[in-house]
Each structure stands twice: as structure tokens, then as C-alpha cells.
């Protein structure tokens, strides 16, 4: 897959699951992995850290 920002290759782990965050090693951008019901992988921009995120 290619980074949506710099087009560098992003290696997606074999055990990756829908919604997992992947990061581009070249430019550091983070993306959310989208896996469709038919298994097609795509990337979408990850949510930025919210003010209410935490535990």
C-alpha cells in the first residue's frame, strides 16, 4: 500500500485488523486501515488525538 501523503510504501502486518493504525516510515503520517467485507485494504486518515482520549 502507498502512503496517502508521500506515496512511500507502507507495509501492512499480516495480522492487521480493520481499524488498526499504520504509520508511514518515510513521512510519519498515521492512517487507519480499512478492511472491507471482501478483504480489500485501503487507508484513511487516522483521527487526531482527541481532547477526551484516555482511560
Amino acid at each position: 500500500m502507498n502512503c496517502l501523503e508521500c506515496y512511500a510504501e507502507i507495509k501492512v502486518p499480516a495480522d492487521a485488523i480493520d481499524g488498526e493504525i499504520v504509520t508511514c516510515n518515510e513521512c510519519g503520517s498515521s492512517f487507519e486501515l480499512d478492511i472491507s467485507e471482501t478483504g480489500v485494504l485501503s487507508l484513511k486518515p487516522a483521527e487526531s488525538v482527541g481532547e477526551d482520549w484516555g482511560e
Binding site: I17, D18, G19, E20, I21, E47, G50, E51, D52, W53, G54, E55
Partner: protein
């Protein structure tokens, strides 16, 4: 009979991935996952809730407000949510949390509350400097500040006065004299299952590992186990991260009980199968529901 259990989330962190892996190993449960960002609800019709989510839902949303409102809806539909709405509300608000701990006689740092700058400054004089100011709702050490003197307090409070009204609720706490570390313990149901020291390493007085603190395994003593169970009891049976400090004057004090706890550092240091124990807990809850 197969039990239906699900997990709602908004981020797939190491914790969520480990829980999914642990669930896959269990043949007695059908485990589904739902990204809360893709969900929507008819608040007046929950007739499909049970067939969709199953009997028990593990709440793992990192966004506090998403977590709270989603739990309210699922619980409103009659589903068992871990942790439940009451727990999410109370643990998520430091004032409610402190009152619950105090009522249960759990040792906790001296804390004062004020709603205006002048009242906050008077409260701080009584508390003594240095003191800590924390937002009533918030995580990862955000907007937590150490107030070394009146000038620092005035500066921080003046800033807060310009912010959303929630930040005008001044939660002020003594700065506990302690070693440069605190303790994070994980409680699952009726057991304290693992614990770590969180050690300040970056010159930051805060020990949050989200702030760069280092983690080290801590064997669970009888005292730690008992105190953690006492600290979580007021919030109801569930899964919690309990934060404690070793006060020079008071011994162990509980300063926070966390809902939807993160446990990646505890998992790495303790080698305890926390995800497996969480699945065990969900199975028990499903059997009881």
C-alpha cells in the same frame, strides 16, 4: 451453548488487538467487534441490540464522551456493558471519583474543590504549596499542572478562566511526597491481576507512561491487592486500572481509578495474560446475565 460477546472500540491499540486474539482462542464464545465510528442508533428501538451485540459488550472506546454515550445507549437497550455506565461516569470524573473513594474510606490524597479564582487561591493556601491542579475530566496527564506558589497558581487559573466552563471547576490536590514513581495495578473482577511501577524518566514529575514514564514489574503484595479491591468496589464489579502513590506520610494512597484501562505496559512487564483474564471475566458476566 455459544455465548455472544462483543467489543466496541474506536482505536485498535495493542490492548484491543490482544483482546481479539484472546477471544479467538475461546470456542465457547462468538466474539464480534464494532468500530464505534461506524455505528448509529435508533434511541427508541433497541429490538435488534441483543442479536447484534450479544449479551455482554466490552467497552473499549478511547474517547471518553464516545465511551460514555455509547455505553448509555447499549445499557438502555438492556445489554450488560463492561464497565457499566455508572462506573464510566464516576471514574471519568475526578470529583465523583474522589467522593466515592472517600466514602469507602480508601486513602487518597488531600483534595479541595473550588469554582472561582479567589476561592481556589484560598483553598490552595490551606492545602499548601506545591499543589496539583487537574481537570475534573481528562486523561494522560493533560492540563495537569504543578503549582509551586501563589504566582504560578494565579497564572494557571487565569488561563483556565478563559477556557470552557468545565475547566473552571478547580480540582486541587496536595503534591504527595513520594519516590519518583507511582503504581499502576490492573483489577479484573475480584482480583488484582498485575501491577507495575511507573517511573519518571524525562524530568517530568508526572509518571504517566503516556508522558514517557518507564515501567517495571511489581509483584502484588497482600496490602496492594486488598487496597486495589477496596478502591474499585465503590465503582462496581469490572475491569480497572488503579493508580497509587507511596506517600511518605500515609503509605499507599489511591489517586485514580481508571475505566477502560490501558494495560500494554503492565502486560509487557508482568507477563500476566490480562487479555485472557478479561475474556474469562466477560464469559462469567455472560453466564450470569
Amino acid at each position: 451453548m455459544t455465548m455472544k460477546v462483543s467489543m466496541v472500540y474506536d482505536l485498535v491499540r495493542l490492548e484491543e488487538k490482544a483482546i481479539i486474539e484472546a477471544a479467538k482462542k475461546r470456542s465457547e464464545i462468538e466474539f464480534k467487534t464494532f468500530d464505534s465510528k461506524d455505528l448509529y442508533f435508533d434511541l427508541l428501538d433497541g429490538s435488534n441490540a441483543n442479536s447484534t451485540f450479544g449479551n455482554v459488550v466490552l467497552q473499549r472506546c478511547a474517547s471518553y464522551f464516545r465511551n460514555l454515550h455509547l455505553t448509555a445507549v447499549l445499557e438502555g437497550y438492556g445489554l450488560k456493558v463492561v464497565n457499566d455506565l455508572s462506573s464510566a461516569l464516576t471514574t471519568g470524573n475526578k470529583v465523583l471519583s474522589t467522593m466515592a473513594l472517600s466514602k469507602a474510606n480508601v486513602p487518597t490524597p488531600r483534595t479541595k474543590l473550588a469554582f472561582t479564582e479567589h476561592a481556589a487561591l484560598r483553598a490552595l493556601e490551606e492545602l499548601g504549596y506545591p499543589a496539583i491542579i487537574k481537570p475534573t475530566i481528562g486523561s494522560w496527564g493533560r492540563l495537569v499542572a504543578c503549582l509551586n506558589d501563589t504566582d504560578a497558581a494565579k497564572s494557571v487559573i487565569e488561563d483556565r478562566e478563559e477556557m470552557f466552563p468545565l475547566y473552571h471547576v478547580y480540582y486541587l490536590q496536595e503534591k504527595v511526597k513520594r519516590p519518583p514513581r507511582d503504581i499502576r495495578a490492573v483489577v479484573v473482577g475480584d482480583r488484582t491481576v498485575a501491577a507495575i511501577y511507573r517511573i519518571s524518566t524525562t524530568g517530568d514529575w508526572r509518571t504517566n507512561t503516556a508522558r514517557g514514564g518507564r515501567a517495571e514489574n511489581l509483584p502484588i503484595s497482600k496490602e496492594l491487592d486488598e487496597l486495589c479491591l477496596r478502591a474499585t468496589r465503590p465503582f462496581g464489579r469490572g475491569i480497572y486500572g488503579v493508580d497509587l502513590m507511596e506517600s511518605e506520610n500515609q503509605g499507599l494512597v489511591v489517586h485514580e481509578v481508571n475505566n477502560t484501562t490501558e494495560f500494554k505496559n503492565v502486560l509487557a512487564q508482568s507477563q500476566v495474560d490480562i487479555p485472557g483474564l478479561i475474556i474469562d471475566f466477560l464469559v462469567d458476566e455472560a453466564k450470569a446475565s
